[in-house]
């Protein structure tokens, strides 16, 4: 890849007069030795799996393997359809779709890690709801996945994307940044605006710990995916309205790395701290292992 930072990514886009998504598609083709159409087809298959997971979670409420969670996506979807959502119907739909994919994941169903399974609901939630809202052709969303991938590539190589390494900020935080940047570009924003959206979003999740109850990707992971989709919409709106990330996004990524490195181990997916070690968290863990 010819970029290692988001600043370099913007410069490359400017130099080649390409969007982030188009640049990433070309770079991926070069890197893999495959044609652009082959690379695009693989991403298209991934988008198909994301849409299936959304549908499955909303239409056929799934229970997690542990029995702890499930059915919340359908609940929120119905509530939104009744016109009761304080967020508004569209954001509520993004939230319900994100919950849906996360519930499918917890039931050991098939998903696409974006960038991880713990954060797999956020990008499909934002993408599929936006496609329905604006009537976009699949190709636009698939290109958007390359945008999200370029952003995630920089975050992953300069910081972390796993909860075990950097806490939830690294998983859900990265996914929100990727979704926000991609949505900004899909809605006509410039590469600069997309990168500002990433910075705005990441600043909002710095410090978030990974403390899953009983070590399962369920509590609080599933609702954090729902919240994450809504936050991504908000960050894209801010960037498209002209808000800039005063601290450059590459510097925010460094802060995520700094915070993750210093984060105590009990808050990095070990289930040895936080929500996992509350009286209720411990009770749930005990009951599951009986």
């Amino acid at each position: 890849m010819k970029f290692a930072s988001l600043t370099e990514l913007i410069e490359c886009c400017r130099g080649d007069a390409l969007s982030i998504g188009e640049l990433m598609l070309a770079e991926q083709a070069k890197e893999s030795g495959c044609s652009e159409s082959e690379v695009f087809a693989r991403m298209a298959a991934y988008y198909g799996i994301m849409k299936e997971a959304v549908r499955e979670g909303v239409e056929r409420p799934v229970q997690s393997r542990s029995g702890l969670t499930g059915g919340d996506a359908a609940r929120v979807h119905e509530y939104g359809a009744r016109g009761e959502s304080s967020l508004g119907a569209e954001a509520c739909k993004a939230m319900s779709y994100a919950l849906a994919v996360s519930e499918v994941n917890a039931s050991m169903g098939r998903i696409i890690a974006t960038p991880t399974a713990g954060s797999c609901g956020i990008i499909p939630g934002v993408f599929v709801s936006s496609q329905e809202r604006w009537g976009w052709h699949d190709d636009q969303l698939i290109k958007g996945l390359f945008t999200a991938g370029a952003i995630g590539y920089v975050i992953a190589n300069n910081s972390f994307i796993s909860g075990a390494e950097g806490g939830c900020q690294a998983e859900v935080g990265s996914a929100i940044g990727m979704a926000a940047g991609a949505l900004t570009e899909m809605r006509g924003g410039t590469p600069e605006q997309a990168v500002h959206a990433v910075g705005l979003a990441l600043k909002n999740s710095l410090g978030l710990i990974c403390d899953p109850v009983a070590g399962l990707v369920e509590i609080p992971c599933i609702v954090r995916n729902g919240f994450g989709a809504v936050t991504a919409l908000a960050a894209a709106d801010m960037a498209l309205a002209g808000i800039r990330s005063v601290i450059p996004t590459d510097e925010v990524v460094q802060v995520m790395h700094e915070v993750g490195t210093k984060m105590p181990e009990q808050y990095r997916e070990t289930a040895k701290g936080g929500l996992a070690q509350t009286p209720t968290g411990k009770r749930i863990m005990r009951e599951l292992t009986l």
């Binding site: 890849m1 990433m24 770079e27 991926q28 890197e31 893999s32 030795g33 690379v39 693989r42 991403m43 298959a45 991934y46 997690s64 393997r65 542990s66 499918v104 994941n105 917890a106 050991m108 169903g109 098939r110 998903i111 696409i112 890690a113 974006t114 960038p115 991880t116 399974a117 713990g118 797999c120 990008i123 996945l145 390359f146 999200a148 991938g149 370029a150 995630g152 590539y153 992953a156 190589n157 994307i161 796993s162 909860g163 075990a164 390494e165 690294a170 990727m178 899953p212 009983a214 070590g215 399962l216 990707v217 369920e218 181990e265 990095r268 997916e269 070990t270 289930a271 040895k272 292992t289």
Partner: protein
């Protein structure tokens, strides 16, 4: 760069619930299986840090077993893989290694049958991506994102030239390689990541070289997952 391309960020296509504890674990188990070259009779698995504290909830045990059965990350049989391994005559024992490993999601896998014994050390670094950190007594790193040759050979002048020369004859390009040895003029191991598919003809000729003891081909990019 730890993460090489767009599909290490968007992807893999996988069965939940955790990319590091489920999908990454499948890929580590599958690497061990392909290193061994066939289904072993017995496998001992030591889990460290976050892997040891949360493996049951994430189905890490099922995922490692699935990998040892050579399944891909999105195979629907993963959830029943521990039982399926047992039915296939593969005995797997899990042990808790505690907190001694450097990386939070680390695992050591010992595979054996009556003829062979191998040890693989690996970490799951996020998003289903893995890092191999050791094979048998050798400290070598690899990602398994590309078709990979694991070559056990003698440590003597010209061996690497013979191996890379042969790859060149078959128009196969090397993206990355690492070499480690037990002692001077003793046994050595080379891990070679390739840009291209590994053809049987090339493998046959490689095995004919006098300094080559054994060759394993690890190819996680096909079969099972997209």
């Amino acid at each position: 760069m730890r993460f090489k391309d767009v599909f290490s960020i968007i992807g893999p296509s996988m069965v939940g619930p955790s990319s590091s504890h489920t999908a990454g674990a499948v890929r580590i188990g599958r690497t061990a299986r392909q290193l061994f070259g066939r289904q072993p009779a017995e496998v001992e698995i030591v889990l460290y840090k976050s892997f040891s504290s949360t493996y049951r909830g994430h189905g890490t045990d099922c995922a490692l077993a699935a990998g040892l059965l050579n399944y891909g990350t999105d195979d629907a049989r993963i959830r029943n893989a521990v039982q399926l391994a047992e039915e296939a005559g593969l005995s797997i024992a899990f042990h808790d290694g505690g907190d001694v490993a450097a990386h939070p999601n680390s695992v050591l896998i010992k595979l054996r049958d009556e003829r062979q014994e191998d040890v693989l050390k690996a970490s799951s670094i996020g998003g289903g991506n893995i890092e191999i950190t050791g094979i048998n007594e050798f400290d070598v790193k690899a990602t398994m994102e590309f078709p990979t040759l694991v070559v056990f050979h003698e440590d003597r002048p010209g061996v690497l030239g013979e191996v890379t020369g042969l790859l060149g004859d078959f128009q196969v390009n090397i993206g990355y390689m690492e070499v480690d040895r037990k002692s001077r003029r003793g046994e050595a191991l080379s891990v070679i990541e390739l840009d291209d598919r590994i053809e049987d003809g090339m493998l046959y000729e490689l095995r004919q070289l006098s300094a080559i003891r054994r060759v394993a081909v690890i190819h996680l990019t096909t079969g099972g997952s997209i």
